[in-house]
């Protein structure tokens, strides 16, 4: 969708979240927001700022401190046709609600043979780099991508954030919407005032290139692009593909880019072992082995509990590590 012929605002990612929520709540009375501190307080990241005043406490609901209760009651609401958008304050605190997510949110359609469906979106800020205490920096999208029945969206720009969140809310199926809190306020982008959808399940190419493909998503899109720009000076032309949705994953786009470049580097901040870089690599060599010219490099978080903030800059993939991975792929 072109943004030229419509009014736009210059928003950060977190403002786009808020804007998407307000847009859909205005359009559809069944949409409601619930979670810890989302009401009067406007969310610990201000993602729901002002919504409580605007839509009232029946549609912007402060819940007790209980993640299983939040997800579980939202499942019940959604089964009755409401469109709840529960928030988990930090994705690292989703685990007390994990059973409700993987055993119920993911499965009610299958279990009930589609009599009960769940038009709900579980929002959670994810990822590191903001000098927060322990468990505030988790990036465990692989857990949700491994569970059939869920969709998992991880935007990287203000425009996509609004469009994808609107799509998620309108989606008849449950979506885990993981927001890159590292870049919640890092930059602004033009975002249409009206409602629009960015389709779930479609990757986008952030930078065209012919030498090597970088596959990434969410907050890691930035250092990936930075690395690509740096390497352009050295004569390496990297393509950067932002998956935007990790489940269902746009394997077509991944394979297409790789068929062009024959080399790849996958970047995520989640721990390496069992992270989605493995899935992407396996897809590449299943579908496009004959195009492959070098090992697929994984630039990821390490297999250690995310460290307290004194060391987090050493944990998080950055432009230098991405550049290093790209060069290894190119120079192989």
């Amino acid at each position: 969708m072109s943004t030229q012929d419509q009014a736009t605002q210059n928003l950060t990612i977190v403002q786009s979240v808020r804007d998407a929520l307000a847009t859909e709540m205005t359009r559809d009375d069944d949409v409601l927001v619930m979670g810890e501190d989302v009401g009067k307080n406007g969310g610990v990241f201000r993602a729901t700022e002002g919504l409580h005043d605007e839509f009232g406490e029946d549609r912007v609901i402060d819940t007790p401190l209980a993640e299983s209760g939040i997800v579980g009651t939202a499942v019940g609401m959604a089964a009755m046709g409401l469109k709840p958008v529960p928030e988990i304050q930090f994705s690292g605190f989703a685990y007390p609600g994990f059973d409700q997510i993987v055993s119920h949110m993911a499965r009610l359609r299958t279990r009930s043979r589609s009599r009960y469906t769940l038009p709900m979106v579980l929002r959670a800020p994810y990822g590191g780099g903001i000098r927060a205490p322990e468990h505030h920096s988790e990036s465990k999208e692989a857990f949700y991508a491994h569970e059939a029945g869920l969709k998992v969206v991880m935007p990287s720009t203000p425009y996509d954030t609004k469009g994808l969140l609107i799509s998620a809310i309108r989606d008849p199926d449950p979506v885990v919407f993981m927001e890159p809190k590292l870049i919640y306020r890092a930059f602004r982008g033009e975002v249409p005032e009206d409602d629009y959808e960015v389709p779930i399940g479609e990757a986008t190419t952030r930078r065209e290139g012919s030498d090597v493909s970088v596959f990434t998503y969410g907050a890691m899109t930035r250092p990936s692009l930075e690395a690509a720009e740096e390497l352009a000076d050295e004569g390496i032309d990297a393509e950067v593909v932002d998956l935007r949705t990790v489940s269902p994953m746009d394997r077509e786009a991944i394979v297409e880019s790789f068929e062009k470049t024959g080399r790849a580097c996958v970047v995520h901040e989640a721990p390496k072992t069992g992270g989605l870089a493995g899935e992407i690599t396996a897809t590449l060599q299943e579908e496009a082995l004959l195009y492959q010219e070098a090992p697929v490099r994984r630039v990821t978080g390490y297999d250690v509990p995310y460290p307290l903030y004194a060391l987090e800059d050493y944990y998080m993939p950055n432009a230098a590590r991405v550049a290093d991975g790209i060069k290894e792929a190119v120079e192989f």
Binding site: T73, R111, R113
Partner: protein
């Protein structure tokens, strides 16, 4: 503990105001549930059905409570409430199909307000709270339907019990939390599940009422449930909508057909509880009232046998599900990768034949 009938079926409390037909229907439902249960256990023994969780002994609680509901009310059952689900419109054939491993058994008819049961213990409690809450959010004080959630004594130990009831207390949702305390969670007796004297008193923690009722007295259950439902829909000043009902009862049989209760409990205990069997108790009362006699009992038994036999026929004559159906009902629209997997599945099936899949591992 609320009681209407004593162990011999004598009246010791206020008999609920039911018509003659309703009293007899209650009895027939209980007989139907019992007979269904016996046949289901035997189907499993004969290898015609998979693992099955029997309900015998619990008919009073299931039927008594389910009959108290109005048309618009909902139930959110656990895996053991075949009797309650049947009363609320889930055909017995469906229940059989489900335990025969056929997902289509889970498809609740559109006009039955029955939520699809899930096996993870207590997980349905927050769902029930959320469903009731949705209704209240939509209809406010005008809400006139209640959501009754069944679960066992063991379920009260799970975090989801706590969180579901706490949300109900805070948001004052039109719920009845109906605990089928059958004294055992598989092999763990009620006394080792919690040190709380009663399960009903756990409601204190959520700021609403808890009630203990004789779960093997269908009339007491009916009365207690009716009261709780009324409160859920139309609480008096200062009253909260939700109620926790603890229906004290006993599971006569095994936890499931895969379980051997002789490992952990004495037959003597079983016999003690069998003396409170809800069916002869209600039958005695109905005979005393002149609503039943040998003939009518015989007619009911015959019709119950026929109904169950028909359901079994219907289930067993249902063609087994199409293997590729496992790729359906995952999402509204099948994502490309799932389509690829489904195609790959079709190819290997075609290539190797169903024998390759069905041989004994």
């Amino acid at each position: 503990m609320v009681q209407v009938l004593d162990e011999e079926g004598g009246v010791v409390g206020d008999v609920p105001d039911l018509s003659e037909e309703e009293f007899v229907a209650m009895y027939r439902h209980m007989k139907l549930a019992r007979h269904f249960d016996e046949r289901a256990v035997s189907l499993q023994r004969q290898g015609r059905m998979g693992t099955y969780p029997p309900l015998s002994g619990q008919e009073g609680a299931q039927i008594g409570s389910a009959l108290a509901l109005s048309e618009d009310d909902w139930i959110v059952p656990s895996y053991r409430e075949h009797g309650a689900a049947m009363v609320r419109g889930l055909p017995l054939k469906q229940t059989l199909l489900y335990w025969m491993g056929d997902e289509r058994g889970s498809l609740v008819p559109e006009d039955a307000n029955v939520f699809t049961p899930a096996v993870p213990i207590a997980s349905q409690i927050p769902h029930a709270t959320g469903m009731a809450w949705a209704d209240k959010l939509r209809h406010g004080d005008e809400t006139d339907r209640a959501f009754l959630c069944y679960f066992g004594d063991g379920a009260t130990s799970e975090g989801d019990f706590h969180e579901g009831l706490n949300f109900a207390g805070v948001f004052d949702t039109p719920n009845v939390f109906f605990c089928n305390n059958n004294q055992w969670a598989i092999s763990v007796p009620r006394e080792r599940q919690t040190n709380s004297e009663t399960l009903a008193q756990k409601a204190v923690a959520y700021g609403f009422e808890g009630v203990q009722v004789d779960g093997m007295d269908p009339l007491a259950v009916y009365a207690a449930t009716t009261e709780a439902l009324e409160k859920a829909k139309d609480p008096a000043d200062g009253e909260r909508r939700p109620t926790l009902i603890e229906a004290v009862q006993y599971r006569f049989g095994a936890h499931t057909t895969a379980d051997d209760p002789s490992q952990y409990r004495e037959d003597e205990e079983v016999q003690r509880w069998k003396a409170r069997d809800p069916i002869p108790r209600l039958e005695r009362f109905l005979r005393d009232q002149g609503l039943l006699d040998d003939d009518r009992v015989e007619t009911i038994e015959a019709s119950v046998r026929e109904e169950v036999a028909d359901a079994i026929d219907a289930a067993e004559s249902t063609v087994r599900p199409e293997p590729s159906s496992m790729f359906e009902h995952v999402y509204a629209e099948q994502p490309p990768e799932l389509r690829r997997q489904s195609e790959a599945f079709a190819r290997v099936r075609e290539e190797y034949g169903d024998e390759a899949f069905l041989e004994e591992q």
